[in-house]
């Protein structure tokens, strides 16, 4: 984006080519990205104090990767996210299809109830999960990965309504004549679903899965209330490290996760194209 060097005159609706607009966007992007970039750069800084550049080092990565607690938390987080994604996609797809397809009594209430996990504040849901698992005496101290079950259940509960939302809005663009065409050509219910509905739903499922994975990996508050001492997730671990002290080790671990996010995004882009991802949100 050349700020200067304007060769073509600016058409009335080319707001993006106006200088003040470009400065505004540059400012917002700086605001959004500068802290992240600073964080990443200083994960390579050879200094305990974070702010002055003292030279390049990888020692904090070494430290982070040898920090068993941190690695365990990361593995826990990824395991929970993977499980939550699989279950959320299945449940969410079912719920989305149900709302898209059927007329049934109390549909408005069901729709409202399904959107509750999205709008109820995280803190309230965390509290509810804490009380619920305490009340029903959910077993604790199970061997890995069963000890993650409570957190995973909580994550599925707040992830699958998002998937339902994405799937439903994807299905809204489905041309029902395609389904009739399949039946007209001899396909039964299952064949129609497999050959026509599912392929149309796929981008919604991918977007939903991506969303569920990110939400699960991201969640701190609800996990904070459901996790015990032996079920620490990455955000909970980082939280305690940040609370305790700000160290370059946290920078290193964060950088790893940011790179992971970017890699996932790139993968999604490769699978879906920039536009499809943008449309899904």
């Amino acid at each position: 984006m050349a700020l200067l060097g304007r060769r073509r005159p600016v058409a009335p609706l080319e707001y993006t080519r106006k200088t003040w607009m470009r400065l505004w966007i540059a400012g917002v992007m700086l605001f959004l990205y500068a802290p992240l970039i600073v964080l990443m750069v200083f994960s390579f800084n050879d200094s305990k104090r974070n702010v002055v550049w003292k030279g390049f080092t990888l020692k904090y990565y070494e430290k982070a990767l040898n920090n068993e607690g941190l690695i365990e938390a990361l593995v826990n987080s990824l395991t929970i996210a993977a499980l939550a994604t699989v279950f959320s996609v299945i449940l969410g797809a079912m719920a989305g299809l149900m709302l898209w397809r059927f007329r049934f009594p109390f549909k408005g209430s069901v729709e409202g109830a399904l959107s509750l996990p999205i709008i109820v504040p995280e803190i309230c849901m965390g509290v509810a999960m804490l009380i619920f698992f305490a009340k029903i005496d959910w077993p604790v101290g199970l061997p890995w990965p069963l000890n993650l079950s409570a957190i995973t259940i909580a994550h599925i509960t707040f992830c699958f309504p998002f998937v339902a939302l994405v799937v439903r809005s994807r299905m809204a663009s489905f041309n029902r004549e395609q389904e009739e065409a399949a039946k007209d050509l001899g396909a039964g219910e299952w064949q129609t679903f497999r050959d026509v509905l599912l392929p149309h739903m796929k981008p919604g499922l991918v977007a939903g899965a991506l969303l569920a994975f990110t939400l699960s990996l991201d969640d701190f508050v609800i996990t904070f209330f459901t996790s015990g001492p032996d079920t620490v997730t990455f955000p909970v671990k980082v939280y305690s490290m940040v609370r305790f002290s700000v160290t370059p080790e946290v920078n290193a671990a964060s950088t790893i996760l940011i790179i992971l996010t970017i890699a996932l995004t790139a993968l999604a882009l490769k699978l879906q194209g920039v536009k499809a991802i943008a449309d899904a949100h």
Partner: protein
């Protein structure tokens, strides 16, 4: 072996209600094997519902539908011997052209080799040979429609149903496809049933047309009969352009009849109409069947082909509007009696339209076999 006279589809007293509204109201009609049948009507007249009932996507509230003599009650769409070309074409966007066309055969369990062969045949039938590996989004609307056609034809159905097949095409392509569809039907010999709201489409393609209005069949006839001998005002008005005048039947004998239309004049017909004397009737007169001339000239022209008594089938008026349409010019004329009439006149030579212009006094006449008397 179905002989041509045997109905391939029999619709018997079929009614379809959505809630309290009857979309199709007690319709009975037969569609003969090998014909190009068209359901014509304005939107909401029930034509698409009727088509979808034949396909099995809607179930009749009352009545019976038989295809090739077999009652279709309880038979789902995927087991009916008919196939449909959808209005949106419903070409599967994630499958190649060949996979689209071969889909039904694959479901039916037809082997790979035979399937490929039949897909190729069907594609060449619709002039899409060589497009096998294309994806639908790389094709134009017209090409996608051909894919949908091939996909249905490859199933060798007893009846091919087409829902508004040309509505999504632009005017030029539409004219071409009208012609091609008729040709295709000739070639494959399958019964075609199509639904349209466009009278040109119906008149140019179909061997028989059922005009529908408010869930009922208003008239079932070959295209030329619909145009020349409409049986009621709805059909006269819906098919083509027409002047309709209200009047009283003042003469009705075998071989001649006359209607007095206030505001317009007296109309003479060279055939009887079998209506009670003095009854309120309507007379339909097509704009192109009216001769237009400068006052005074008329007598001489009429004298040559006199077929009505003096004072009948004659009107005078003043041109209030005209639109030049290239092949014809359309005139809006205010008659001395007060009624408005539309007259079209072919532009037989260049600058022909300059012959008459705004505010000119003109006189008109028409032949005694041109008007149609309508009883309802």
């Amino acid at each position: 072996m179905p002989d041509t006279a045997q109905p391939i589809i029999q619709i018997r007293n079929v009614t379809k209600r959505f809630g309290k509204v009857a979309a199709v109201d007690n319709v009975s009609l037969d569609i003969l094997a090998g014909e190009f049948f068209c359901l014509l009507g304005p939107s909401g007249c029930g034509k698409t519902t009727l088509l979808r009932m034949i396909a099995g996507f809607e179930l009749p509230t009352e009545g019976q539908i038989l295809i090739d003599g077999q009652d279709m009650a309880g038979i789902p769409p995927n087991r009916r011997p008919v196939n449909m070309v959808f209005q949106s074409y419903a070409v599967f966007p994630h499958m190649s052209v060949a996979d689209n066309v071969g889909y039904g055969l694959k479901i039916a369990g037809v082997g790979r080799a035979e399937r490929d062969e039949r897909v190729r045949e069907a594609l060449s039938l619709v002039s899409l040979g060589g497009f096998e590996d294309r994806k639908p989004d790389q094709m134009s609307g017209g090409q996608r429609q051909r894919v949908a056609l091939a996909r249905s034809l490859v199933m060798r159905p007893k009846v091919l149903l087409l829902d508004e097949p040309l509505s999504a095409l632009d005017a030029k392509l539409r004219a071409q496809m009208q012609f091609e569809l008729s040709e295709l039907q000739d070639k494959v010999g399958i019964t075609f049933v199509t639904v349209t709201h466009d009278q040109d489409e119906a008149l140019s393609m179909a061997s028989r047309v059922a005009v529908m209005n408010k869930g009922e069949v208003a008239q079932l006839a070959p295209p030329s009969d619909l145009y020349e001998f409409p049986s009621n005002r709805f059909v006269a008005d819906f098919v083509g352009s027409v002047n309709i005048f209200e009047g009283k039947l003042i003469l009705d004998e075998p071989g001649r009849a006359a209607v007095d239309c206030p505001g317009m004049g007296k109309i003479f017909l060279n055939h009887g109409v079998t209506g009670p004397h003095g009854a309120d009737v309507w007379v339909a007169l097509r704009p192109e069947k009216i001769y237009l001339h400068v006052p005074g000239e008329g007598k001489a022209i009429r004298a040559a082909g006199q077929d009505a008594p003096e004072g009948y089938n004659l009107a005078r008026g003043q041109i209030k509007g005209m639109s030049y349409l290239g092949d014809i010019t359309l005139y809006e004329i205010k008659l001395d009696g007060g009624a408005m009439i539309r007259v079209s006149r072919p532009n037989l030579s260049r600058r022909d339209q300059e012959h008459f212009t705004w505010d000119d006094r003109v006189s008109m006449h028409w032949r005694a076999d041109s008007p149609v008397v309508l009883l309802n």
